[in-house]
């Protein structure tokens, strides 16, 4: 690199070119992987027949079924998020702020539904409360009735099951804010003469209100983007939402209509996320967050202590243990609906699954996809985060935003983008495993950028500079200092991408093809075709893997990440 006179020029010498090479490569990948496909969705939605038009949107709004699906999506998600808000906030208050026993265990149990894939949860809930479900049967036996007074295949059923999988989001955000709330605010209120209840009402809740709203909006986005629950419960109830309508439109296939609905879905979710970010900023503006999670003072519930404790226990059991137990029970029953007795138990469904080539293939496919998705997103995310957080390069900040943007794009929309972008020359990925990889990369890039950014921010730049001053070049500094230091964060982040990618459904169900099934697709198709028990057996295997994965994450991150 030296010029003849032994001097180094500025560009060559500062190893800046090396970073620019990395950055340029990542930038090109980001444009190819993220920007190009997403642009296609938007463009396609405005094309009909020969030219640009709003015809596809007119079709959405003029066809009452499509319009109803949009409306259904919005009100179903709104109702869900209100229930999630009430449940999540009160549970957070009880678990973080009061003197009920076993708080740590309860907290973990309440977070568990977060780890259970919603579509597997939906299957479990039909096994419990469906017309022939365990609880329904028990009710019928108990009261000798012909039918049960509830129906899980209904809008109410969808909303309740959805709320079950969205309340942990509110719980996490609110309990986080509560944990960091300076206790002196509440103490001041008590000293001013307010009792525990009034303090909660007038001081605590208003102070964490931004977090409550932020959590609720996240729940809204989660609900409106979900496919598994409305698909498994909604078709029978003739209740269609945008995600299931898009699925049907793609089966016809009516691509322009699908893209128009996809854009509407993305706009709704994006708007909700935009407001959510405002609220999040609002919370940090209240300088009540002291950064310490020391909580010496809790509210004494007195005679309400045990009743509330049992209520929280009941909710957490129903949210976590009961669905998993029902899944396991179903997977070992001879046939679905068989009376529960020893002679009706069998492992034949497991042995069937292990011998089923499709299941083995799906397991392998999901594993390959999840490994590659986690590895590639973490590598690219680390580069972008490093360049924007540490090297403070302006171009990297732009990439940071581009990489985080898909967070606001529902999975269904990403899948459509993939079909549009990768099913024609020059790059034909449709019909192969790799189109799902492309989708996973878009979907999980924000996860990776967020975790790598957080990890890198904890590492003071002087640690790197010290290495440079010790004589290490940029690459050596990366290898000896930066990478070893962020390793635990990278591993935890890797697993945090691996786990949801491993059991992904919403995108895979639109992108899979013969021979390229994923675990999520196999479970969904099995359940959909009436092979409940095979679905249950695979689900049980997946749940086991998720639990093990979680334990590993906790170990690696020393309790920082995971449940």
């Amino acid at each position: 690199m030296s010029s003849p006179n032994g001097k180094l020029t500025a560009r060559e010498s500062n190893a800046l070119d090396m970073r620019y090479v990395f950055l340029a490569l990542t930038g090109a990948l980001f444009v190819g992987i993220i920007v190009y496909p997403l642009y296609h969705v938007l463009a396609k939605s405005f094309v009909s027949g020969s030219g640009l038009s709003l015809a596809n949107y007119v079709k959405v709004f003029s066809n009452p079924t499509n319009f109803k699906a949009l409306w259904n999506s919005i009100w179903m998600s709104a109702t869900t998020s209100v229930i999630a808000m009430v449940a999540g906030t009160s549970l957070a208050l009880f678990v973080i702020r009061t003197d009920i026993p076993c708080k740590n265990l309860l907290r973990i149990m309440l977070l568990m539904p977060y780890a259970i894939p919603p579509f597997i949860g939906a299957i479990a809930w039909t096994q419990l409360f469906g017309p022939a479900g365990y609880i329904s049967k028990a009710y019928i036996n108990l009261f000798g009735s012909y039918d049960v007074p509830w129906n899980i295949y209904s809008t109410g059923g969808i909303v309740l099951v959805m709320a079950m999988y969205q309340f942990p989001v509110v719980f996490i955000t609110v309990s986080g804010a509560l944990g960091r709330l300076d206790p002196s605010f509440e103490e001041a209120s008590r000293m001013s003469g307010a009792n525990a209840f009034k303090t909660m009402r007038d001081v605590t809740i208003p102070l964490v209100m931004p977090s409550i709203m932020a959590g609720t909006l996240l729940a809204f986005v989660g609900a409106i983007s979900n496919f598994g629950i409305p698909a498994l419960l909604g078709f029978r109830a003739r209740f269609y939402v945008l995600t299931t309508r898009i699925y049907s439109a793609l089966a016809i296939p009516d691509m322009p209509l699908a893209t128009a609905m996809a854009v509407l879905l993305a706009i709704t979710a994006g708007a909700a996320l935009f407001v959510q970010i405002k609220f999040e900023k609002g919370q940090s503006r209240y300088t009540v967050i002291s950064g310490k999670s020391v909580r010496p003072q809790t509210i004494s519930l007195g005679k309400w202590r045990m009743p509330i404790f049992f209520m929280v226990v009941a909710v957490s059991l129903f949210a976590s243990i009961v669905p998993m137990a029902s899944m396991l029970l179903t997977s070992v029953l001879k046939y679905w609906g068989a009376p529960i007795k020893l002679s009706n138990l069998t492992l034949k469904h497991f042995s069937y699954v292990f011998n089923l080539e499709m299941a083995r293939r799906a397991l392998k496919n999901s594993f390959i996809l999840a490994v590659l998705a986690a590895t590639v997103t973490m590598a690219l995310g680390a580069v972008v985060s490093y360049m924007s957080v540490k090297a403070k390069m302006k171009a990297a900040v732009v990439l940071d935003i581009v990489g985080t943007f898909p967070y606001a794009v529902p999975c269904t929309v990403i899948a459509i983008a993939m079909i549009l972008a990768w099913s024609k020359p020059p790059i034909m990925l449709y019909g192969t495993l790799w189109i799902m990889l492309a989708a996973y990369l878009v979907r999980y890039m924000p996860f990776s950028i967020r975790t790598t950014r957080a990890t890198l921010q904890q590492i003071h730049s002087s640690l790197e500079e010290a290495a440079r001053m010790s004589g290490a070049g940029w690459l050596q500094t990366m290898r000896h200092i930066v990478v070893p230091l962020i390793k635990p964060g990278l591993i935890a982040g890797w697993i945090l991408v691996f786990m949801p990618a491993f059991r992904e459904l919403t995108m895979s169900v639109l992108l899979w093809s013969q021979g390229n099934e994923t675990i999520g697709v196999v479970i969904y198709n099995m359940q959909d075709a009436g092979n409940t028990q095979i679905a249950a057996a695979i689900s049980s295997i997946v749940l086991l893997l998720i639990l093990v994965g979680n334990v590993i994450v906790r170990k690696v991150s020393k309790g920082q990440v995971g449940l």
Binding site: P131, R236, R238, Y335, G337, A338, V483, I491, S513, G530
Partner: protein, 327 residues
């Protein structure tokens, strides 16, 4: 970390390599709507018989398979080699569009004329009967359920599969509409909130579990549950069973004609038909005995199926059903 990640990546690449290496034997792909358990069992037996052929099964509802075929045809080539659906009408359309390869299997001589295409474009491979299934623990007196109309009395506790998804139910829909000259039965079903599930396996499962008291469902599925001890019975409707000859065919663009023919031969062979009988399915060959407790076709009152009419009116039938029942 880097090294470990690298190792994982290399391991994955190896796995991918193994997949490709394993596919060195000639592979044919079966597009089918036959329930997955049956289809895989069948594939295993086939591969035992023909050791140098690998059979991959793509299984979905008839409609999904049909959509896939049209889409792939548009995109420059169907990826499947052999086809086995319940929607017999679709074969007429496929034949007319030139998507099927004519093949008169030597085994087909044992299949009655009315179950196969005269030119050999497709051959009936199993007979599946749409019947009324009852759950005997919910309906003590079976004699109450005699005709298709009796199903409607059970409201939410009655079920059928969705013809927009299931091929056999599409045939039922076409037959009902053609024979009765209208949609009355379906309109009534919608009014009384009869449950419309996706596939017949889903319906059978619900019937066995007691989710439904009665159902329009396929005979062999009820038989299967009955064998496992579920409280279910078949009722042969007095106004007629819809008996569908679920045909097999070879896709015209296949590059593996010989292997595909082997599959057709195997399905129609005595051994293949006996395999199906074991799972409670009626055989197409006269020289294979029907499953125990199942009547032969000549003992059942049948409803005539308008195959060609159904093929011509597919879109109208689907759209009307969707409008009248699904919303």
């Amino acid at each position: 970390m880097l090294r470990r990640t690298l190792m994982v990546v290399i391991a994955s690449l190896f796995l991918i390599g193994i997949v490709f290496a394993a596919s060195a034997a000639e592979t044919i792909v079966l597009y089918t709507s036959v329930p997955i358990e049956l289809a895989t069992k069948f594939a295993d037996e086939f591969m035992k018989e023909y050791k140098d052929i690998k059979l991959e099964v793509f299984r979905a509802g008839s409609t999904d398979v049909i959509n896939k075929i049209w889409a792939e045809n548009e995109a420059g080539g169907i990826k499947g080699d052999v086809l086995w659906l319940a929607d017999a009408a679709a074969y007429y359309t496929f034949r007319d569009k030139g998507l099927l390869l004519a093949y008169k299997s030597p085994e087909a001589t044992n299949v009655p004329m009315e179950l196969k295409d005269p030119n050999g474009y497709f051959t009936g491979a199993r007979i599946i009967n749409m019947i009324i299934g009852v759950n005997t623990s919910l309906i003590k007196d079976k004699s109450k359920v005699k005709t298709w109309a009796d199903l409607l009395a059970y409201g939410k506790k009655a079920a059928m599969a969705n013809p927009l998804y299931s091929g056999s139910n599409f045939m039922v829909t076409a037959t009902f509409v053609k024979n009765s000259g209208g949609w009355l039965w379906f309109e009534d079903a919608r009014k009384k909130e009869m449950q419309v599930l996706r596939g017949n396996a889903d319906v059978a499962r619900g019937l066995a579990a007691g989710e439904f008291a009665v159902a329009m469902v396929l005979d062999y599925m009820v038989n299967d549950y009955k064998k496992q001890g579920a409280p279910v019975e078949i009722i042969w409707p007095e106004d007629g069973t819809i008996s569908i000859p679920s045909p097999v065919a070879i896709i015209s663009v296949t590059k593996k004609v010989a292997a595909s023919k082997c599959f057709i031969d195997f399905v129609l062979s005595r051994k293949g038909q006996e395999l199906m009988v074991k799972d409670g399915v009626l055989p197409v060959r006269g020289d294979v005995a029907p499953p125990a407790g199942m009547p032969t076709l000549d003992k059942i009152k049948l409803m005539p199926i308008p195959f060609e009419w159904a093929a011509e009116n597919t879109t109208m039938l689907r759209e009307t059903f969707e409008k009248k029942v699904m919303y």
